[in-house]
């Protein structure tokens, strides 16, 4: 989001060069459970080693590089199961890394400054974080198991819980809007004296989170849900 030179990822490109261009790809590697020591591997070599299809890897890498998903791109069931793994890993990253980090910065900030608004910011963040957890739980316990059943099922009538992709979108929008509110409050309104190091760290963490949340919803909306609908339609035939 904050880089202007965009590289469209190709199978023959070296991972180390791609990461140099856009370090945020490290987040993607981590979500794929791929080690950061990528030696001199090209995209296809790496994919072969980790048993991920080139198509899937490149589609997601291009999202991180600022492109959209191509229309009519098709993904295999194995791809989609890997997408779910990937998304589950992003949840772990939010829960155990990004949110605690941000919470920690806000607490420190609140301790350093007597401004009472900061207590409210802390409260705002906690409420927001609870909503996020609720959404992540919903995906982990309802949405993903639904997709997994759908993907592993043989042809025939289904007996899964009815599930709507609209639920998904409502949640996302809300999560993104509250984060936007938080950024705007800190950028435009709440007065804090100095403490620039801590505040910069907080901002960077918020932008990193925003970026990954955006990619996360892009993956769901442009890869997982459309493919899910295709499979549903096939099975009904």
């Amino acid at each position: 989001m904050f880089h202007t030179v965009k590289t469209s990822v190709k199978p023959y490109m070296k991972l180390s060069d791609l990461i140099d261009d856009n370090p945020l790809l490290l987040l993607m590697l981590q979500h794929f459970n791929i080690d950061f020591r990528v030696i001199d591997l090209t995209v296809s070599q790496l994919c072969l080693e980790y048993k991920i299809s080139d198509n899937l890897f490149i589609s997601i890498a291009n999202l991180y590089n600022g492109f959209g998903t191509k229309e009519n791109e098709t993904f295999s069931k194995t791809d989609l199961l890997q997408v779910i793994d990937f998304l589950e890993n992003t949840h772990v990253y939010y829960r155990s890394d990004k949110y605690p980090q941000i919470r920690n910065y806000i607490t420190q900030l609140q301790q350093n400054h007597p401004a009472k608004e900061l207590k409210l910011i802390e409260k705002f963040f906690d409420e927001y974080f609870n909503e996020v957890i609720e959404h992540l739980d919903y995906e982990d316990k309802v949405a993903f198991p639904y997709f997994i059943t759908l993907l592993k099922k043989q042809k025939g009538k289904s007996d899964y819980v009815p599930y709507s992709s609209n639920d998904y979108n409502d949640h996302h929008t809300d999560i993104e809007l509250k984060l936007q509110d938080l950024k705007n409050l800190l950028l435009k309104y709440v007065k804090i004296d100095g403490d620039l190091d801590l505040r910069r760290r907080l901002f960077f963490a918020l932008y990193e989170l925003e970026f990954d949340l955006y990619i996360h919803s892009q993956i769901e909306e442009t890869i997982l849900i459309p493919s899910g609908i295709c499979i549903e339609n096939e099975q009904e035939l």
């Binding site: 965009k6 959209g68 009472k116 207590k119 409260k123 809007l177 509110d181 705007n184 435009k188």
Partner: protein, 208 residues
């Protein structure tokens, strides 16, 4: 020209020529325009960009839509606020001009190119003038905001201020547009920072 006056422009360049794209991008970034430039080199890519980014200007050339005039019409239908700018490469036919809101020639100077975009932008400003006023709530909006952070519903606010619910909703929209804050708890913090309300009314005992 101050940044407050001009909200940032989101421009997508739909053009297969890398030379033209990069040249244009350089001119745009070096100009006074507060803009963000995206590149699309296929029609699919263009559509995805238009779906996902808040693009206000599309720059393209007639050649990109040769025999595909219908596509431009489709894009206009699904993105009514989008302005489309044509690059005149010197061999453009007259009738193709009407496809675009404005055009500039490939051999124009950077000042001329920027000028044509500014003129286009000024036209669009009238459509979204509220956005540029930013953060100057009217007295009425402040009243609505105060009720809102006090936890009153739209109906209660309407009764209290003796206005229709519809008016309350439109005030709320404007408040969000001007402040950039949507949630009620966010607006509470805004109101306190702006000293519209007293903080002590909003801190529960366990927080003070």
């Amino acid at each position: 020209m101050s940044k407050n006056y001009r909200p940032s422009l989101q421009i997508v360049v739909y053009e297969t020529s890398q030379i033209i794209f990069e040249g244009l991008q350089t001119i745009l970034y070096q100009s006074e325009l507060d803009c963000r430039v995206y590149h699309a080199d296929t029609l699919d890519h263009l559509k995805v960009t238009l779906e996902n980014k808040p693009v206000n200007i599309l720059i393209t050339s007639y050649m990109m839509f040769l025999n595909l005039e219908k596509e431009i019409k489709k894009i206009r239908r699904s993105h009514p606020l989008l302005s489309i700018v044509g690059i005149d490469a010197g061999f453009i036919q007259k009738q193709s001009f009407q496809l675009f809101d404005t055009t500039f020639a490939l051999y124009d100077s950077s000042e001329q190119i920027i000028h044509s975009l500014i003129k286009l932008d000024e036209k669009n400003q009238c459509l979204s003038s509220k956005k540029s006023e930013e953060d100057n709530l009217t007295d009425r909006e402040i009243e609505v905001l105060t009720c809102l952070v006090n936890g009153q519903t739209n109906k209660e606010i309407a009764d209290f201020l003796n206005i229709s619910i519809h008016t309350v909703i439109s005030h709320r929209k404007n408040i969000t547009l001007k402040t950039g804050i949507r949630s009620q708890s966010g607006l509470t913090i805004y109101a306190i920072s702006k000293k519209i309300i007293e903080i002590d009314d909003f801190l529960p005992d366990n927080l003070t």
